[in-house]
């Protein structure tokens, strides 16, 4: 099942399993799901102690949005590790080279052909996206929103910039590496710093909780946006993008 995986683009998918094996797999999966579903249906949900706990402690969490309170205060440790997961993936997909470390993060190239509509549109759109992202980050304290949503939007801006074709990002640059770790670093810094006042790692003093959460979220937003743009670069631009274009451009010139 995992031993003969095909990687073909789409033309040949004949390596599938024989019908009898498929039937057995299907029956096993259906039986397992039926058992799961039956046990779920039979079970009558009782009390949910956490519902009241979250609500009653919300005031001390520093934010009004209960989901943000859970993510960044009650269960902040999970989120800390989640930022570490993002760093792992960033490192895993990073197209790294030792030479590129000296080059700047953003490279602006002179466009071969300009599209006025695109450029004018981007000039309006990008600042708007960045402001909206900031708003999402800020509003996460009260309404649905927060670091991931803001980071995803910001990454969208980065990807738009990339797709417009004049800019390219070099993730081996020192600035880029700083962006990739700043979320985790800030989280650790705040988590360890509060030990001085409260004596417990990650336990924010109530008076400063809102501000500290915002600081962590700003850093996390930056890292999330950087990682998502990096993922886009690693998956899209490298194998498909530049090479055919470059060949074309050379033909033109």
């Amino acid at each position: 099942m995992f031993n003969n995986m095909t990687l073909s683009d789409s033309a040949q998918q004949e390596a599938d399993l024989p019908g009898s094996v498929l039937l057995i797999i299907g029956m096993v999966v259906v039986a397992a799901c039926l058992f799961l579903a039956m046990s779920l249906v039979q079970f009558q949900s009782t009390d949910q102690p956490l519902v009241t706990l979250v609500v009653s402690n919300l005031e001390q969490s520093g934010v009004e949005n209960p989901v943000t309170a859970v993510l960044l205060n009650f269960r902040s440790y999970d989120t800390l590790l989640e930022v570490a997961v993002l760093l792992i993936v960033a490192l895993a997909v990073m197209p790294f080279s030792l030479q590129d470390t000296r080059l700047p993060f953003i490279k602006v190239s002179e466009p071969v052909e300009r599209s006025l509509v695109l450029e004018a549109f981007l000039r309006w759109l990008l600042p708007a996206i960045i402001v909206t992202s900031g708003y999402l980050l800020w509003t996460g304290a009260v309404l649905p929103g927060g670091a991931f949503q803001a980071g995803a939007l910001l990454a969208g801006a980065g990807i738009l910039l990339l797709l417009a074709g004049h800019h390219s990002f070099n993730f081996n640059a020192p600035t880029a590496r700083l962006l990739l770790v700043v979320g985790l670093a800030m989280f650790l810094l705040v988590g360890a710093g509060v030990v001085l006042s409260s004596g417990i790692a990650l336990a924010y003093p109530v008076a400063m909780a809102g501000m500290l959460i915002l600081v962590i979220e700003v850093a996390a937003t930056i890292t999330i946006a950087a990682v998502l743009v990096l993922l886009f670069c690693a998956l899209q631009i490298e194998p498909l993008g530049p090479q055919p274009n470059r060949v074309e451009k050379e033909k033109h010139s």
């Binding site: 995986m5 683009d9 998918q13 299907g26 779920l40 949900s45 609500v55 989901v67 269960r75 490298e238």
Partner: protein
């Protein structure tokens, strides 16, 4: 059967569909998609549980958000490996 329970049961069904896909389909990109379907099924079970009581429970919401980020990370990593393996395969095919 309440609405929440129905969502939970369908979450398990989605999980099963994804599981079947992972096991039965040889194409790697489809396998990755199937794993994502599995993941969506699990998240649905979480959300269904969260809304089964009188008041919504926020802890599963937060867990699902964490789970989504982890799923994005895993998917991206798998796809990047596929891209790298493909890039290694291409020259051989050309030669």
């Amino acid at each position: 059967m309440t609405q929440a329970l129905l969502y939970g049961v369908f979450g398990i069904a989605l999980f099963g569909i994804g599981l079947f896909g992972v096991l039965a389909i040889a194409h790697v990109v489809k396998k990755i998609l199937a794993i994502n379907i599995c993941g969506v099924g699990v998240f649905m079970v979480f959300i269904a549980n969260a809304s089964s009581g009188a008041a919504p429970d926020f802890v599963p919401h937060a867990m699902v958000l964490t789970g989504i980020v982890v799923a994005v990370a895993g998917t991206a990593m798998a796809l990047s490996l596929v891209v790298r393996i493909n890039a290694l395969e291409k020259p051989e095919e050309g030669a």
